[in-house]
């Protein structure tokens, strides 16, 4: 379900939206409970980021069953390896995305090892998740995480090229409110990505 498509769904909310509609748990509080072994934290983390991780895996592996396996393995590894996560030093989402990327690499390695055993296989093109693709998925997650109406306004403005006036009319929302939501959204996104970049470097 793309951002754009969701705008047309007034009634039955798709599954993706159901997950995304959940208000994101307070990250620090969630990280602390996860680290302490509170198993409800694992479920909350799953509700928050499973679509992000599954999408990363899908785009890298281009195979639904393999993507499900990676998603499963990622959360299992994260829970079993929670002692390796320091809630005071890093953010939980970045940490589990790192695990997911390693699981994706494992899956691609296994695939290429198996492919090499098949003499008949020709030109095995190994798909991989590029940094650029992974970025795009994380950006989509961040826009989702803005919650409504901001994610709707942002996707209209950024991806459909709608003017502020058009958004105002389409959502039946005062122009000033549309502009305010856009400003606050941009501030949130910038802050989020500066945190990410600081951790990545």
């Amino acid at each position: 379900m793309s951002l754009a498509v969701r705008l047309d769904t007034d009634g039955g909310e798709p599954m993706v939206a159901d997950l995304a509609v959940d208000p994101a748990p307070d990250p620090r509080e969630l990280a602390r409970r996860f680290s302490a072994g509170d198993d409800t934290a694992l479920e909350e983390l799953y509700r928050d980021v499973s679509a992000l991780i599954h999408t990363l895996a899908l785009r890298a592996l281009r195979n639904a069953a393999d993507a499900e396996d990676v998603t499963q393995a990622t959360f299992v590894s994260a829970w079993r390896g929670r002692d390796g996560f320091d809630p005071d030093r890093g953010d939980l989402r970045g940490w589990i995305v790192g695990i997911a990327k390693r699981r994706i690499a494992d899956a691609l390695d296994a695939r290429s090892r198996e492919s090499r055993r098949l003499a008949a296989v020709k030109d095995v093109a190994e798909p991989a998740v590029s940094d650029r693709e992974a970025d795009a998925v994380e950006i989509a997650y961040d826009i989702e995480a803005l919650g409504d109406p901001r994610r709707t306004i942002v996707s209209l403005a950024f991806y459909e090229g709608a003017t502020h006036q058009q958004i105002s009319e389409r959502l039946d929302m005062p122009l000033g409110t549309v502009k305010s939501h856009l400003r606050r959204s941009l501030m949130t996104l910038r802050e989020r990505w500066e945190v990410n970049d600081a951790q990545a470097s």
Partner: protein, 263 residues
């Protein structure tokens, strides 16, 4: 120089929506210009990424996580509801012939099949995985960090390509010490693009069949559900399955063999 505009006013400038006074200020203030540039960069990052569809995993993935972790102490266990739901799906496995798998039964079969699948790379990824019991059939992983299969070969089948009858490897049924059986496939059946290979056991009337799961390489070790009699389903079949989510056999078989008792 007048005081710096608020952050929100700088974000407004980046969005092409700032006041003329703020714009004049930013022109003469490198600090604020850097702020506006940062907002422009953030906007460009979002726009440049393009809209991406986030795809939530199906519910069975969470169930499988719970199942897998229920083996650990002090971790989220599989709820009784989850377990009984999986067990309830088991009877549909044997009865699902080609074309009969529609509606809830087919979905259940798929869920049961997926729920107990373990990725092969999990062996290397989690050394702790040795002996983990997965799913409702008491299916256990083969080996640990070093995958190796201990047991007795009870049936074998030479595999042949259906297109030209050329030899295409072997299939063996290995019975482990605990009585469970595993179908071991070694084949040079070529991998496919925009589709995947799936391994089936089929009965002699070619009506009843069971999927043992996808074939992702030249070698596969596929668990045969406990109580399943290979003698009644002796045909080993490898099919090309389109990526359409339909759990039944596509009808497009590429490789076959018939299991015979090991002398």
């Amino acid at each position: 120089m007048p005081r710096h505009p608020e952050e929100e006013a700088l974000a407004a400038l980046a969005l092409g929506d700032g006041t003329p006074d703020d714009a004049v200020h930013v022109d003469g203030c490198s600090t604020c210009r850097a702020e506006v540039d940062a907002y422009v960069d953030a906007m460009a990052r979002a726009v440049g990424a393009g809209p991406v569809t986030l795809v939530a995993p199906p519910a069975r993935v969470w169930e499988a996580i719970q199942d897998e972790l229920s083996e650990d102490q002090g971790s989220p266990g599989a709820s009784p509801q989850t377990v009984s739901a999986t067990v309830g799906a088991a009877p549909t496995l044997e009865g699902s012939g080609s074309g009969s798998g529609s509606g809830a039964g087919a979905a259940d079969e798929l869920a049961a099949r997926r729920a107990r699948r373990m990725p092969r790379w999990a062996f290397a990824a989690t050394a702790a995985a040795a002996g983990v019991v997965v799913g409702a059939f008491g299916v256990s992983l083969l080996g640990g960090a070093e995958p190796g299969l201990q047991g007795t070969v009870v049936a074998t089948a030479p595999l042949a390509a259906l297109a030209d009858d050329a030899p295409a490897g072997t299939a063996e049924v290995v019975q482990r010490e605990d009585g469970t059986e595993v179908l071991v496939i070694d084949t040079d059946t070529a991998s496919v693009t925009d589709a995947y290979l799936e391994v089936w056991l089929i009965d002699t009337s070619v009506e009843g069949m069971i999927s043992l799961g996808p074939l992702t390489g030249g070698h596969a070790e596929l668990e045969i559900p406990a109580g399943f009699d290979v003698a009644s389903f002796p045909i080993v079949d490898i099919s090309v399955e389109p990526l359409d989510g339909v759990p039944t056999h596509s009808g497009d078989s590429v490789t076959r063999g018939v299991l015979g008792a090991q002398a």
